[in-house]
């Protein structure tokens, strides 16, 4: 087997084992109903995590995604409920705003030469503050389009339902994987994460790529915000607090190297599913408190970071020896 696929295989194996254990304990977890809800409940996290994968692949980090999700939700709710626009128009406007926002962060990161986390931290404050200034309360959305979308489901045998938003997450993962592995932009992202100096010497347009990466991350966060608003039928300025941390965790658990340059979009999908499994298991169990979710995610994060470290340390001298 290709050795570069090993971390991905490890993640998939751990997910399979964890799911098997969960099913052995609660046989009802092995049903299309649970699996369908898996996709629906984690859709917004998954979409944001695709953007985060690109950012981390390029060696950066984006702390603003949770705030952008919250801001998008509020913007859409206000545009639809107060200004009376059609949701699709509101969606387009929200994506445009988020794209400009992410591009600005990318420009700041490249031209001011400052670490990504402090720029996106400012972005997080700005987006969260902006959402709270628009409204401090939850704004409900009552539009026939929302009812139409939430009725749009595919029935599966066994009582399960594949919802529109669950399917859109899967679609975005597939598109993300194609962009990462089959386009010029994708290889630029990997090159930048591997070594920005050699990337720029090889002719990678570093400025353009950096701007595009952060714009993409914010656009995907906005789509995630749209999904979140379809999921909750409301906009709330404090929605999705801390989603950036879940997204980073999912990316890391999915086997993407934190220093950039190595990883798979598909791995992030497994990471998101693993986080969803932890949550579902804790709900099924009923006696465990919800704060165990955080501890288990922390432990998983730690295990995968150490695993990455070990693989990295073990493979580095070996490759050198093979070359010599």
């Amino acid at each position: 087997m290709n050795r570069s696929l090993r971390p991905l295989a490890a993640t998939a194996l751990i997910f399979a084992i964890a799911y098997a254990i969960a099913v052995m304990q609660f046989p009802s977890m092995f049903s299309t109903r649970v699996l369908g809800n898996f996709l629906t409940d984690n859709a917004f996290l998954g979409i944001a995590a695709v953007g985060m994968t690109f950012v981390i692949l390029s060696g950066g980090i984006d702390l603003s995604v949770g705030a952008v999700i919250g801001f998008t939700g509020v913007l859409i709710a206000v545009l639809v409920s107060w200004a009376g626009l059609h949701p699709l128009v509101a969606f387009a406007m929200a994506i445009a705003v988020a794209g400009a926002f992410g591009a600005t962060m990318g420009l700041a990161i490249h031209y001011l030469q400052v670490p990504a986390f402090i720029v996106t931290l400012a972005g997080m404050f700005l987006a969260r503050g902006g959402a709270s200034v628009i409204t401090r309360d939850s704004v409900p959305i009552n539009h026939e389009f929302y009812a139409f979308v939430s009725d749009l489901t595919i029935r599966l045998p066994g009582g399960g339902r594949l919802s529109m938003i669950g399917l859109s997450m899967v679609a975005i993962f597939i598109i993300g994987a194609l962009i990462a592995h089959r386009t010029k932009f994708g290889s630029y992202v990997y090159a930048l994460g591997g070594n920005p100096v050699s990337a720029s010497l090889m002719g990678v347009p570093v400025a353009r790529t950096t701007v595009a990466i952060y714009a993409l991350s914010s656009i995907l966060a906005a789509i995630s915000g749209i999904v979140f608003s379809l999921y909750t039928s409301a906009g709330y300025p404090l929605a999705a607090v801390g989603v950036e941390l879940d997204a980073i965790s999912a990316v890391v658990i999915g086997g993407t190297l934190l220093t950039g340059g190595y990883g798979f979009v598909l791995g992030t999908f497994i990471g998101v599913m693993l986080l969803g499994l932890v949550q579902t298991y804790i709900i099924f169990d009923g006696t465990l408190s919800s704060w165990w979710t955080k501890i288990v995610i922390g432990i998983l994060l730690f295990l995968f970071i150490v695993l990455q470290r070990l693989i990295f340390v073990a493979s580095a001298p070996g490759e050198k020896a093979a070359r010599a």
Partner: protein, 334 residues
């Protein structure tokens, strides 16, 4: 020596603090009025010192971490853990000094854990401390069993809300800590070692600095400071709230350090200026509150502030500035 001290007083950070305070005074004419009541001072200015103390204490710990080119995202969660430990132990009947000592020890261990991940396993600091940031609140909730543990212990409450010669206890603790850490790093070679590791860890190790030991020390100090801040916050509200204690304060602490002129790329740092940075943030918060704006404006003002500081610190600005002010490290962002 005297001239150097005067020169430090005219630093842009202190001028900014004075500027923010003057704006507050224009918006709210009673801002500088301080009254003496029930054996302690009262007034907006005292409020800035009192409310700014937790972030100032976090900043004292954070400044060393950032000077070594790291960052500690877990301080908010460690605050929650330390507060939870102190509160549950006091409620369980242990004497307050034991509870405080245990909470400090837990904070120290949390810091040591981060230090081990960064120094020995060589994991990027953002991610290494992210583990505890995510799991820490869960641990805190495990300790408090999901409740907000309230207590009536006079010693803990005194740490959070008491007064020392009329000044709020929290501010006094922050001041003592700032002076102690400044003396330790500036009267010994420790500060120089930290800067050396931050600028180039490999070179520092080759020059004979035990960089692993130093990183462990710096992260442990950050954990200890977070525990102190956590005890103060718990004492202030007379309870340990695992969900909200110290929430997002790590970001304020990082911001305070950055405002204080410490480069995120490691190297040059200043403990007192980081504390001034914390006071600037708090003065803005208080200003926004007393002048009647909704508190949400805080976030936008903070974002603007980060942007201004970044532009001042950036290579673009240094090309326009006199050479003396140019940042020592250049182009090392990645």
């Amino acid at each position: 020596m005297m001239r150097r001290t005067l020169g430090k007083l005219a630093s842009p950070q202190l001028l900014a603090l004075v500027g923010v305070l003057l704006i507050n005074w224009l918006l709210f004419p009673n801002f500088f009025r301080i009254t003496w009541q029930d054996g302690r001072f009262f007034g907006s200015l005292i409020d800035v010192l009192n409310r700014g103390a937790p972030v100032a204490i976090l900043a004292v710990g954070m400044v060393g971490v950032i000077a070594t080119k790291g960052v500690d995202l877990s301080v908010g969660a460690v605050m929650a853990v330390a507060g939870a430990v102190a509160a549950t132990m006091v409620v369980a009947g242990y004497p307050a000094p034991v509870a405080v000592a245990a909470a400090l020890l837990v904070g120290l261990l949390c810091g040591l854990w981060n230090g081990i991940l960064v120094a020995i396993l060589e994991i990027q600091p953002i991610i290494a401390t992210l583990v505890l940031m995510v799991a820490g609140r869960g641990i805190a909730q495990l300790i408090t069993e999901g409740f907000i543990v309230t207590f009536t212990d006079p010693v803990l409450i005194y740490i959070g809300t008491g007064s020392f010669f009329g000044f709020p206890m929290a501010a006094v603790i922050a001041l003592v800590l700032m002076v102690a850490v400044t003396l330790i790093v500036r009267r010994t070679a420790l500060g120089l070692f930290i800067e050396a590791v931050g600028v180039n860890r490999a070179a520092a190790s080759l020059a004979g600095i035990r960089s692993r030991m130093l990183l462990l020390l710096v992260y442990s100090l950050s954990g200890l400071c977070a525990a102190i801040a956590g005890i103060i916050v718990a004492g202030d509200i007379r309870g340990a709230d695992a969900n909200n204690a110290g929430l997002w304060l790590e970001l304020d602490a990082i911001l305070a350090v950055v405002i204080g002129g410490t480069s995120l790329l490691g190297g040059r740092f200043s403990v007192p200026l980081a504390v001034v940075g914390a006071l600037i943030i708090q003065a803005m918060n208080t200003g926004i509150l007393v002048s009647g704006f909704p508190p949400e404006f805080n976030l936008i003002v903070k974002a603007g502030l980060i942007f201004i500081v970044l532009i001042i610190q950036s290579p673009l600005a240094s090309r326009l500035a006199p050479p003396r002010l140019r940042p020592a490290v250049k182009g090392a962002a990645k």
